[in-house]
């Protein structure tokens, strides 16, 4: 039953406009960011450094900036799961299709669980597309500038792991959005609350924790711990020492992101199971 439902959700997902738009939007935004950052950095360098320190978009550091900064859960890696989770869950409350499935004898936890599971593949596909396109743009500026050859510095064995890290970092955001979707059942409410938490909420929480002397605990807040996880993508560059100074261990960061995902999903499930669904 679950597998069957997952397959249906998956097929629905790929036919949905929200997915296509997110995919295209992410790709366009990344090309813009990579090229924009690169050329701004060049202009800044020529003028003797005016815009502050812009990261280099040349290979190999460009690919790290892409997977760590641009696709971090605090930026595009947060926006994408918020949009997809909102589109795939909250809209179906409004259309009544969620109610329809439930009234066909499908258990509530199966419906929500299948939806959550069906989010992983579109997130992964968006991530892969973003990496290919953003990485391509970065390779292009590298080729135009320094010429080929710098790709040798990339630790390709780490690439798969980096994708996995960046994907895992998106999951708590997706699960949080599902929870907010179940709680508010409104597109605007879910988008607003999720983006509010991403952009502001967690900083406030982190600040409060630090004030009360719990700054270590603040490192384990959902977005923070997921962001920390993506910092390990620096291992993409051969011989990089950057990962040595990360305050949370890699395994702990993985566990933290997955744990928050489970907590948010569990709460969403708990609430969904008790919800009165008007028609």
């Amino acid at each position: 039953m679950f597998a069957n439902l997952w397959a249906i959700e998956q097929r629905k997902t790929f036919k949905r406009k929200a997915f296509v738009i997110t995919l295209a939007g992410t790709a366009a935004l990344l090309v813009f960011l990579v090229l924009g950052t690169h050329f701004s950095a060049q202009v800044a360098a020529q003028q003797g450094g005016g815009i502050g320190e812009l990261p280099s978009m040349l290979w190999p550091s460009g690919i790290v900036v892409l997977l760590t900064d641009f696709l971090s859960p605090g930026f595009i890696g947060g926006i994408v799961p918020v949009i997809l989770a909102t589109a795939f869950l909250v809209e179906e409350y409004r259309w009544g299709t969620l109610q329809l499935w439930l009234s066909r004898g499908v258990p509530r936890s199966t419906v929500l669980g299948a939806k959550a599971a069906a989010l992983v593949l579109p997130l992964l596909l968006t991530l892969i597309a973003a990496t290919l396109i953003g990485g391509g743009a970065s390779a292009l500026v590298t080729h135009l500038g320094a010429g080929p050859g710098s790709a040798e510095q990339v630790n390709f064995a780490q690439l798969v792991l980096s994708l996995l890290r960046t994907l895992t970092a998106m999951l708590p955001v997706a699960a949080l959005t599902l929870l907010l979707g179940v709680l508010t059942r409104s597109t605007a409410g879910t988008l607003g609350a999720a983006m509010g938490y991403l952009l502001l909420g967690e900083q406030l929480l982190g600040g409060l924790l630090s004030l009360t002397g719990l700054s270590t605990a603040a490192l384990y807040l959902p977005i923070t711990v997921s962001t920390v996880l993506t910092l390990y993508n620096h291992t993409l560059i051969k011989g990089s020492e950057a990962a040595k100074s990360i305050p949370v261990g890699q395994a702990a960061a993985f566990a933290g992101a997955l744990l928050w995902t489970a907590v948010f999903l569990g709460l969403a499930m708990w609430r969904f199971n008790r919800q009165d669904l008007s028609i």
């Binding site: 069957n4 249906i8 109610q99 004898g105 028609i279």
Partner: protein
């Protein structure tokens, strides 16, 4: 013996906690296999709320729902696999075509194949619009697709909340005939409506709901029979009314001009009683009201 496929016991729903609106107030319904059961009530009577509980979408405040002998609540939904429903605005993905919407749903039911999808589109008269996006459908077309969705898996029980909403008169008749055909083939239909002539034409039995309570339940003919009015033209209506008060079974008497109106008894009984009291009616008619009058009477 009748086989009961749908039963509620003391079913109650209060919105907004203690002190909130009681939308459904201790209703007992029982629907037999193979019948078309009408669920009637004015706006706000609680029909949709009751149906929400039948479908496991709303948690009853108290009481129980049983379908095919199995309990149904938001956490017990197995029995709903035999049920097709259409409630409120038909549920569908607006960006998908009619066909795509049905295909998505067909994935839930292993025994529904391509042929069945085409068949239900044919049944509801949407075959030509199959490849059009639902977004652009008219209200009536959406309603038809909603019916196709309800029928797709050949359910044993159909629960329909105002299914002819938005349909033109020809469409309404098609649906009425369709429901009768389905019931003839062994399906059970639970039909909520405030279109009285519709219910009168297709339903075997009805329950009338008012302010959350069932105010009458039974065979349509019996409900109508209870309310038959006997009208007698007599020389002295006041005296006749006086006399008829002693007649067993009389529920209501009214004198009006040279007529007296009596409810609850047959015209023969009225005739005999009047003659025994030496009142000779010069005219005696028995009018069977339509369901509309019964309904208005009961939900006043």
């Amino acid at each position: 013996m009748y086989e009961i496929v749908l039963q509620t016991e003391d079913l109650r729903k209060q919105f907004g906690g203690p002190g909130g609106i009681v939308a459904v107030d201790r209703i007992d319904l029982s629907v037999r296999r193979g019948e078309v059961f009408g669920f009637l009530g004015p706006n706000g009577a609680g029909k949709t709320t009751a149906i929400g509980m039948l479908l496991g979408l709303l948690q009853p405040t108290s009481g129980r729902v049983e379908l095919f002998g199995q309990p149904v609540t938001p956490r017990h939904v197995a029995a709903l696999r035999q049920v097709g429903s259409l409630v409120g605005a038909p549920a569908m993905i607006p960006g998908f075509t009619a066909l795509q919407n049905l295909h998505v749903l067909a994935g839930l039911h292993p025994d529904v194949d391509e042929r069945r999808v085409d068949e239900v589109l044919e049944i509801v008269g949407l075959a030509e619009a199959a490849n059009r996006r639902v977004k652009g459908f008219s209200l009536g077309m959406k309603q038809r697709l909603g019916l196709a969705v309800a029928l797709l898996h050949r359910p044993e029980l159909l629960i329909l909340d105002e299914p002819t909403n938005g349909l033109d008169p020809a469409g309404m008749r098609e649906i009425r005939e369709l429901l009768q055909t389905l019931a003839g083939a062994g399906a059970t239909v639970f039909l909520s409506s405030h279109l009285l002539h519709e219910v009168e034409q297709v339903c075997d039995r009805v329950a009338i709901l008012n302010r959350g309570r069932v105010v009458a339940q039974g065979e349509v003919s019996l409900l109508l029979g209870d309310q038959a009015v006997v009208r007698a033209c007599v020389p002295n209506p006041v005296a006749a009314a006086q006399a008829l008060r002693q007649l067993d079974g009389v529920t209501e008497i009214e004198s009006n001009g040279s007529y007296v109106h009596v409810k609850g008894v047959s015209s023969e009984a009225v005739n005999l009683h009047l003659v025994q009291h030496r009142i000779i009616p010069s005219e005696l008619t028995s009018g069977r009201p339509d369901l509309e009058n019964v309904f208005l009477e009961l939900t006043r």
